[in-house]
Symmetry: C2
Subunit: 108 residues, 2 copies
């Protein structure tokens, strides 16, 4: 396979990776809420208006599978669950901040 | 309404704006293909493997409505249709390039 073709395929995979991670209705809000640091499930729920428990569970599972979020369970009574961004997720911070700026500038 | 609440609402609108523009399956590929300059419909179709004519028409209409793309028809025989990014669309270039880099680094 020639180099140009390999580049094309990598670009398409990269695009798929991006859409898997930030293309969902809630994923960017969750990533955004996690930028300042770890959050408990309930905190995330309060920080993201409009999301419901089922959707938040689903999105967080998806983000864990994509290597964006780490879930830690503490053996307290009742158990505490904390979410943090992985390094891969943290690297999105400057990019998502730029996207937000662009969006704020162009909100119709 | 207090300032914090207004900020929250603007952030949510900004997020909606971003997802409208780049959250679609094909929109980022189309924007990416238009970065180097204007393209005819047929050129775009060739540059984006996997897209079909119906989808490309639909996405371009949506992008025109979102103010990302300008469509110009030239009165040639047969008519020529060219697409270019608007200023709003061009401003996405550095951000989408960063997203691509991030994606390429993390393709699983």
């Amino acid at each position: 396979m020639d180099k140009k073709k390999i580049k094309k395929i990598s670009e398409r995979c990269a695009l798929q990776e991006i859409l898997d991670v930030i293309g969902g209705k809630w994923s960017m809000s969750i990533i955004y809420a996690l930028f300042p640091g770890k959050k408990r499930f309930g905190e995330l729920e309060r920080l993201i208006p409009g999301i419901n428990t089922r959707m938040l569970v689903k999105e967080l599972k998806n983000m864990e599978a994509n290597g964006i979020v780490t879930r830690t369970v503490f053996a307290t009574v009742p158990p505490t669950v904390e979410y943090t961004l992985t390094l891969k997720g943290e690297k999105l911070e400057p990019i998502i901040n730029e996207l937000y700026k662009w969006g704020l500038e162009h909100v119709s």
